[in-house]
Symmetry: D2
Subunit: 340 residues, 4 copies
């Protein structure tokens, strides 16, 4: 970390700052230039609150050299992390299709979709039981009933399941859930992240609507700092001025994240674009830029889905998608090769 | 609500749609134009899931005439709502200064600031006990200890207090808290909003970093739908491409919100700009555009504040701010007068 | 176009509106519902100024059914347009690599790069002569001298050339230029677009930093309305809150544009991400989502490039990129197949 | 300027860099810390292309201490600049109302509005002759005819006039125009800015839809670098995700700009919010945060205005606005007082 002081800093303040930084266990190297004095901090700077230093009277600016995340940082963990769900690996070279309906609506629906997506090549089943909805008057999911139906589908098909948690009190219900999903709106629900950090269960963390990649990694760090290293990152579109698509799917996030972290990165093109006919091209693009998997909303009857029907694709379209993505994979970008 | 059908819709589908809409208690008026058929829905359309209708095969687009919020809607509640905390009113013509440190740091600190801001004209004391921080390694607040110190300051000064809740499990600790604050990152933590809707305690809801005004009002609606009508809205800056200021304070949100809802609207310029020297002008601007109050971070020693020191102002600067804002208030915009 | 009137509109105003709309050659169909009256306008509504109607006292809202662009609209021109530069086709199934340095710096530099990128598979040579720079003190390009060097490189290698125009007075210099580029900052320089519409030379139009896809197509429409149908659209990243990458490359723009328009769409990943090591993955992604070509900055000595060195790749890296993209193309998304 | 080198830089490259920087007339002070070497550059760093240095192999990051603009910088010109149009001063303590129709539509219209706004207190008349419109099919302004009518209104009322230029070829027509306006879409039309820099006529420069404040000041610098120091900055709203208002009016830009530059700053709330009923509150807010003037669209018959009728206010509403703003001015923020 480099601390740039203002011109002609007060000597006493400078000494105080130096001592305070040293008290945090940092080595402080001072270099005085013609006009500016620069402090170089060596040691574990992730414990340093950058805003706190920046607020000091004598400080002009502070610049991190080292990223503020440790556990998620590829520098300290160069090998890809593969999150394992039984025999299934997310990351580390494997590619997984996570598929299923936006919401679990009925036994018949979830079983039919589960069988179908498994047949097509999905290895993980998704389905919403607790649904975060903008309006209190919209369908909020079947709740625990939906969760039980999802577990039933898991038992019948053998597919591990992923579903979204909305608060910690729901945690006891998630025992048979294989991957816990944290939605975009909860990406900075730090209390929830801390709680999930105490588990030994994989967590899929979705990027917040207006989260920078660094904030995204800091949220992963919250989970990892608690001891749970099984985090899967999911790009699902960010909010921009463009209104034609529901969100703007940021595919550049994939190679950038893969460069900054060893964690697996999957893409959810269904929420990313929000229009079913663009799910296929964006799935192909996600695979090409080096994603470790896809999360796709599939519905047996999209026009009658009780939520997000507009962005769901049919089982037949999903089948085609898997085949086409599988043809991209051998020629897709693999992080680590192109970089120096 | 107006539903625009695609050209040449299938008659049977059209009949199904009509019956389904009627089953929700809506009157459906069909008007066939030269190329397009338009359905007009009359009744309580706030229960209708607009995405669901839009996803239907035969539907081209759906347009709400009526906003999707009822309880928060000024159309159904033309009079300003004043949220009352004992003798203090937020909204309904009154103007309140909410002031205090970003974080409660010590007994000495919170008591000194509390006395000082009261002296200057603040009527409500703010102070963070549980702090949402981007990094797990940053100071997370004193927690319950901070809350107890805040309550002590309340007892000594008589000022009602406001502090942020981060999850429902903290609720029992908030008994002596007068206004519960929901932070920007939790604006769409719907489970928390539902829980707060069951209380009979004022809630200050901060606008999310990338929330539209309609989403902001829908989150207020979550709380109100549960029966708790004492909601104060707080504009605190949105995320844009501009990096000079910490956020972009959207002052146009104030008159727009005051036009759409009867709820009080306050502004937090401290987080909105994030640089202490711009807090005063933005406070004056907030008052001028018609805000019902201000929420200001005040610290007795900003350069050594343990969080957000960069945006805090000193007690002396706060004193000047109150005086200057008080001179703006008599000539400020009052919603309801200029509008037709 | 659907015009929704406010409740209980004044009969006389309604009649005036109807007559005014008819005077523009439109058929007006009026349908009165329970609460709302809706006007359906049939005819060439692209001439209608939607803001003008929306401003009328009796109008609640206006909704276009038909897009406001005609010449660029795929509905009226279902077949892909291929822009032809001699034997080279951009669009219509062909895929082209446009490559070269950000700025032309010297005869030696442009000739060396031209030969190299041709060898690797580029079919069009790019190079900046007039450079739009944020600072008046930054290198502004070699101007006409750079243009002459580019033309020399064209003569030697046979590669057609593309370079950016910054204002109409430069037009006489562009006689030997094969494709005129309009930069992102000039996307809504309407006077320039009108002038280019009078030419019979291909124009590559870059998307503005904060332009919606509809605005982008309207700018293409400006050129086409003047009679010049040879427009190539170029996605080059939009401005968002994310600062890690220079811009946010919006790859979903590719399939969406290909669905809305018959014009060819190419992607510039060099400006899109602004960091050389991410150019390769984003080039692969661009090909996978169905782009008609790529525009890549190549420099023989990126660290000493006089502009944009940070995002340029070496000739060797370009060679690898072409090979890898060529392996993606056979399995890439092709618009028109997946859509219904 | 501070240049931070990567760990263990190559000695030869470091020496080359040092010599190259010195060749630009800069003093280079090298300070070697424990892990990092930092170069401090002293001298006129505004000539240095920061991207160029950042692209070098051995450079980790570059940080400007000094802003990249000189002429516009308040540090080098602490006193407020007042742009003088005859006896009228914009900036330097004076406050001006610039008012008039979006487009000049007829002699009758412009004369009536000119007389009316003068009566109410406007000191400068605005009116569009050449209109930048998103659609080639929308009304593009009366052109030179409109300009002549505006000049006629100037002669009759004595009000100086401001109107927008769209390209340099229109310049000869602007001889009798007192202030030349550069629209938001042309803020980075650098060729136009250079040309305006050669004039000795005031220029009002509007902030681009997605321009940072630094880019805005760099565009002012383009004009000033050419020798024309009479630049008025105009905040007119930026593009964000919010769709309720036409743009998001960034009032924090006013005190920030006033702190960074000595140039006058005015606000255009009409375009900023785009809805007439919010023009008054945002005008009051603009005055309160310290703007040097307002630019207001006034139309004698807004619902029939040929452009932007939705955001225009009537002459009567303008009269009320002037009175209310005049009551804010004595208690408004004045930059320079509150800052330390």
């Amino acid at each position: 970390m480099i601390v740039l002081l203002k011109e002609n800093p007060n000597e006493k303040q400078m000494e105080n700052l130096k001592q305070w930084l040293q008290s945090m266990g940092l080595d402080v190297h001072m270099s005085k230039g013609a006009n500016h004095t620069v402090l170089g901090l060596v040691g574990d700077t992730s414990v340093v609150d950058i805003d706190l230093i920046r607020a000091l009277d004598i400080v002009e600016d502070v610049k991190r050299i080292q990223e503020p995340y440790k556990n998620a940082n590829r520098k300290f963990h160069p090998q890809d992390t593969a999150v394992e769900i039984g025999p299934i690996k997310v990351g580390g070279g494997a590619f997984q299709f996570i598929a299923g309906p936006c919401s679990v609506e009925s036994r018949e629906q979830i079983l039919a979709i589960a069988r179908s997506v498994k047949q097509s090549g999905a290895s993980i089943l998704r389905g919403g039981a607790f649904k975060p909805r903008t309006s209190p008057y919209s369908f909020q999911g079947l709740g625990n009933e939906g969760l039980q139906l999802l577990i039933e589908a898991k038992k019948e098909t053998g597919l591990p399941i992923i579903t979204e948690i909305m608060n910690m009190s729901q945690l006891p219900l998630f025992e048979d859930v294989d991957i816990i999903q944290v939605g975009a709106r909860n990406m900075q629900n730090f209390e929830l992240l801390k709680e999930l950090g105490r588990l030994s269960k994989p967590v899929l963390l979705k990027r917040g609507l207006s989260s920078t990649l660094q904030e995204f990694l800091m949220s992963a760090e919250y989970i990892m700092a608690g001891g749970n290293g099984q985090v899967i990152l999911c790009e699902r579109g960010i909010r921009t001025f463009e209104t034609y698509t529901r969100n703007t799917l940021d595919l550049s996030a994939v190679p950038v994240l893969k460069s900054l972290t060893h964690l697996p990165v999957v893409v959810d093109p269904s929420h990313g674009v929000g229009i079913s006919k663009y799910v296929l091209p964006m799935a192909l693009g996600s695979a090409a830029v080096g994603a470790d998997g896809l999360m796709i909303e599939v519905h047996n009857d999209p026009p009658h889905a009780l939520s997000d029907g507009q962005q769901s694709i049919t089982p037949a379209a999903f089948d085609e998608l898997v085949q086409k993505v599988n043809r991209i994979l051998p020629v897709a970008y693999r992080a680590g090769k192109a970089e120096k």
